[in-house]
């Protein structure tokens, strides 16, 4: 059996309101999947739940990764199992120098100590890979960063921490076309560097980032807290052309959606 991130009948509530109403989804390692859907369908809730945000209350279900139900683990334990979330809205943490934070995070995830000099050399390589300026790392963590800088900082962390499975929560939103290309090319590079072993769940509203992802294995569509449709990469373009309303009406007619 290939390893996979397996979501089984996941139901999640926020402030007492049910948002995810029974998600079933399998993303095998070595595959890149996209999760699309209109605003408010529960995509971000799924992303935050996968990493264990305390605000999201799991009502039912399991998420199996490496033979364990990760819903029982704290966020840091999930990260140590090789999971990563690129945040849609990365928070600002004033006074915390990015370079120091990265050093601590790297050691925490890898479970080993690495001298700062050696770490910095590695960090510089990653910065070059992403075409980022070295002055970046002496700034406060996301402090005063522009939207684009925050997203690139997320990608930098992903490149550095080398997760086995990454969830990317609308990393493309708010970026211009060049920004989107940079993100997509970073995903392609990381996938390649992992020997095509990494798993990705790319959450997005639009298909434009997906056109630059190689290879894209599957596209899933989420509506009203459920996965309502899964298909190949061509599904992304179809949605882009016809919009979500078209799908919603069709699903209502079929009785899939209420």
């Amino acid at each position: 059996m290939t390893e996979a991130l397996e979501i089984r009948n996941l139901r999640v509530a926020v402030d007492g309101r049910e948002i995810l109403k029974g998600i079933n989804l399998v993303v095998p390692k070595g595959e890149i999947h996209a999760l699309m859907g209109p605003n408010g369908s529960g995509k971000s809730t799924l992303a935050q739940t996968l990493l264990g945000h305390p605000r999201y209350e799991v009502l039912e279900g399991e998420v199996i990764w490496k033979g364990r139900n990760i819903l029982e683990l704290s966020p840091d334990e999930r990260a140590k199992l090789g999971l990563f979330l690129a945040f849609q809205y990365p928070v600002e943490i004033p006074g915390v120098v990015l370079g120091n934070f990265l050093h601590i995070a790297y050691q925490a995830v890898k479970g080993t100590e690495i001298p700062i000099g050696k770490f910095n050399r590695m960090l510089m390589q990653k910065l070059r890979l992403l075409d980022m300026d070295a002055s970046f790392i002496s700034r406060g963590l996301n402090e005063g960063f522009s939207g684009g800088e925050r997203k690139r900082c997320e990608i930098l962390q992903m490149a550095l921490l080398e997760p086995e499975f990454a969830v990317m929560d609308e990393t493309d939103s708010g970026l211009d076309i060049d920004g989107v290309r940079i993100v997509a090319s970073a995903v392609n590079k990381l996938y390649e560097q992992s020997g095509n072993q990494m798993g990705f769940l790319i959450i997005t509203h639009y298909s434009r980032i997906l056109n630059h992802i190689q290879p894209l294995h599957k596209v899933h569509v989420m509506m009203d807290g459920r996965i309502v449709l899964s298909g190949g990469p061509e599904l992304a373009n179809e949605l882009e052309e016809k919009g979500y309303d078209w799908l919603e009406e069709q699903l209502k007619a079929e009785g899939v959606l209420a």
Binding site: G52, P54, S74, P75, K80, G95, L161
Partner: protein
């Protein structure tokens, strides 16, 4: 001279004892006597008094404390000859590379005194207060207790009457000391008192960094401290005063620091506190001539049932002056904090630029903070802003850090470090800011261990 009997109680005999023992000049004897009279007349503050409403003095009794304590040995000529438990508080490495001067008090005795040859050659004076009263009375008379007046408060009066330690700093015109002058106070006699007074006279265009460092045995060590700092920042001088307080957790400390800042002079306070049952700090910058400026920074880290009581005063007397204040407080367990800060702009002080911020971070549900910013503005062309926040660790920030593999406690620590960074960053001496950081690390670690992490 007959052997003097060391008084064991706070009372008029203690005043007599100090006068006799130190053969003080007449004007200073009078000052002590007057201060004692003030002390006797001023009633002990109660929760009904303005500025004392939230201060917890339950269980505090002046009769519990001896007015003075001495170590069993005489002064020493080298640091190595000091008791071992004191060594760790001092600078690392060679003396002449880290400090321009060092005075160490053990109880009320200045047991070690050193000033670099270079500083001495430039005319810098750095001596303990007893010596200063004997040798530099002309510089002290008319300045000592002029800024911090005995009549303003019961504890200042007590401090002035029973002053038993401290130092005098004089920096001549245009002399700039790159290395700091370090004053270290070690108090280890249970239920004794430290009434230290520091007078800094920075002459025109001079520059000086003074470190004041207070320590005692940790744990349930009990003592009374009431210190005062008077800074005279003459025109175009720059004075940096950095304090670090790491008392045992039953010490009561009432501290008064005040600067008179003249034309184009700059005064920076960085007041850091970790210990004590009560740390009551009163910090006042008087901007008396145009172009004067001040940065007032504070950082208090509390746990257990510690109380930190901050009173600040940015007094704009002259026009075109600037004051910037930032007091940051981190509280664990049932610790509490009070902040009361006044910006006063006098009628003539047009063009004033004043900023005040008090930020409190509560790490436990039982910690408590109160913040009272006050403005009194009599001029019309001014820029004054103030802000106060009391909050807990942000869940989003915690989640973000934890999602990067960092365990909860460590993530919390990173957030606290980031929160306090703007204050620690203002300590201009690297080895001293490392000490402050190390104390913060140790205190947070102790709390984590207490909670079983």
């Amino acid at each position: 001279m007959a052997e003097l009997i060391v008084p064991t109680q706070i009372g008029p005999e203690a005043v007599e004892f100090l006068i006799e023992r130190n053969s003080e000049p007449d004007w200073f004897k009078d000052l002590r006597q007057q201060a004692w009279n003030e002390f006797e007349q001023i009633p002990m503050p109660t929760p009904r008094d303005e500025g004392w409403r939230r201060t917890d003095l339950k269980g505090f009794q002046l009769t519990d404390y001896a007015p003075i304590s001495f170590p069993t040995y005489d002064g020493v000529l080298s640091i190595e000859a000091l008791p071992e438990e004191l060594q760790k508080f001092l600078h690392p490495g060679a003396e002449e590379e880290n400090v321009a001067g060092l005075i160490i008090h053990h109880g009320a005795k200045a047991v070690y005194r050193w000033l670099s040859e270079e500083a001495e050659r430039k005319g810098v004076i750095f001596v303990d207060m007893t010596t200063a009263l004997r040798e530099h009375a002309e510089l002290l008379n008319g300045r000592l207790h002029q800024l911090v007046s005995p009549s303003e408060n019961k504890f200042v009066a007590l401090h002035s009457a029973l002053m038993n330690a401290g130092a005098f700093v004089y920096v001549p015109p245009r002399v700039r000391l790159e290395l700091p002058l370090h004053l270290f106070f070690w108090l280890d006699a249970e239920r004794s008192s430290l009434f230290d007074h520091l007078l800094i006279l920075a002459d025109k265009e001079s520059e000086v960094v003074v470190l004041a460092h207070y320590a005692s045995p940790q744990g349930d060590f009990s003592a009374l401290s009431s210190g005062a700092v008077e800074v005279f920042a003459e025109p175009s001088s720059q004075v940096y005063f950095i304090s670090l307080q790491e008392w045992g957790n039953r010490v009561y400390d009432f501290h008064f620091v005040r600067a008179n800042i003249r034309r184009d002079a700059y005064m920076r306070w960085v007041l850091t506190a970790f210990g004590g049952k009560l740390w009551r700090i009163n910090c006042h910058s008087k901007l008396v001539e145009p172009g004067a400026s001040t940065d007032m920074l504070g950082m208090s880290v509390g746990a257990g049932i510690q109380q930190f009581d901050h009173h600040t005063f940015q007094e704009h007397i002259a026009p075109q002056c600037k004051s910037d204040l930032l007091f940051k407080v981190v509280l664990m367990e049932r610790a509490s904090s009070i902040y009361r800060g006044l910006i006063k702009v006098h009628k003539n002080a047009q063009g004033t630029d004043a900023y005040q911020a008090n930020r409190n971070l509560l790490l436990s549900p039982k910690a408590r903070a109160d913040s009272m910013p006050l403005l009194e503005i009599e001029a019309n062309e001014v820029r004054c802003t103030h802000g106060a926040t009391i909050g807990r660790v942000d869940e989003q920030q915690l989640f973000y850090l934890m999602s990067r593999g960092i365990p909860r406690r460590q993530a919390e620590k990173i957030i606290v470090d980031g929160f306090l960074h703007p204050v620690i960053d203002k300590v201009p001496i690297q080895w001293f800011s490392s000490k402050i950081q190390a104390l913060l690390d140790a205190k947070m670690l102790a709390e984590a261990q207490r909670l079983g992490y």
